[in-house]
Symmetry: C2
Subunit: 133 residues, 2 copies
DNA sequence: TTCCTTGCAAATCGTTTGCATAATG
DNA sequence: CATTATGCAAACGATTTGCAAGGAA
């Protein structure tokens, strides 16, 4: 169970940190390959999962059936454009009491809420401009 | 494009309305088969998607990689147990201003937010009891 | 040398689709 | 009759896994 260093894992994490657009495993694979030509897709998946389990990156499920990954592990939300599929960061200020609010509204609920997942969807700025033309 | 009646679709919808636990396509298939032995999985998928597109049922994506379906189309949230995977309804009172709150916190964002998807996760009541034993 | 990690390919899983046939309007 | 829906099986796309070989501690 002890973790050993791997060049591949490092390259994957480094790549992810350069991107703010939440790439999928496949996109990570395509890009990392430039710099590490014979890395395999399986290794990319294995390391993305491992890093996500370790909490070093975040796995994003935004409803498009494909996992996206984010090197920014700070608390924030995401916006998904229904036109182009792009995933954009959103601040979460003002929503830090969501869990308390839901607990208050569900007094009969006897489970323990540990967290929540939220994403917003709509049309991104770029797609709105295109629609106007 | 005009919709035609189908016994299968009716049975699927009827079944879904009897359940409050948000079954998956496969669970719908298994159950509907009791009463309609040679219905096919493909037909179940086709009709669940159709009903969801029509807005007669809701498709739930709760992060477990499998679609769940809910005949209750009213506004409410869901709780997913990380132990047993069960999906439980939650009232959404007090959270109707989520979009406005996020918009206020993201004044630089130039997209249009149309809606959001949220689910809560944690340990359900039943699983908490089992943990204590 | 131990045992974690890789590359590769095959396997899995949920879901979709093509097609000939059956049912609806 | 025109068209939508079905059953079946094959196809799909994303992700996972088994295994023998490679690399880190």
């Amino acid at each position: 169970m002890a973790l050993k260093y791997s060049r591949q894992r490092q390259v994957i994490k480094d790549f992810l940190m350069t991107r703010k657009d939440h790439p999928t495993a496949d996109v990570v694979y395509m890009n990392v390959r430039h710099e590490y030509p014979n890395i395999s897709l399986g290794t990319v998946y294995r390391n993305l999962s491992l890093l996500a389990d370790l909490g070093e990156i975040k796995r994003l499920r935004v409803g498009d059936g494909v996992d996206h990954f984010d090197a920014d592990t700070s608390d924030h939300y995401h916006f998904v454009c229904t036109e182009c599929g792009s995933v954009i960061d959103l601040m979460s200020d003002g929503l830090e009491r969501i869990t308390e609010t839901v607990e208050a509204a569900n007094t009969g609920f006897d489970g323990e809420i540990i967290g929540h997942v939220t994403y917003f969807y709509g049309v991104c700025g770029d797609c709105r401009k295109k629609t106007l033309s």
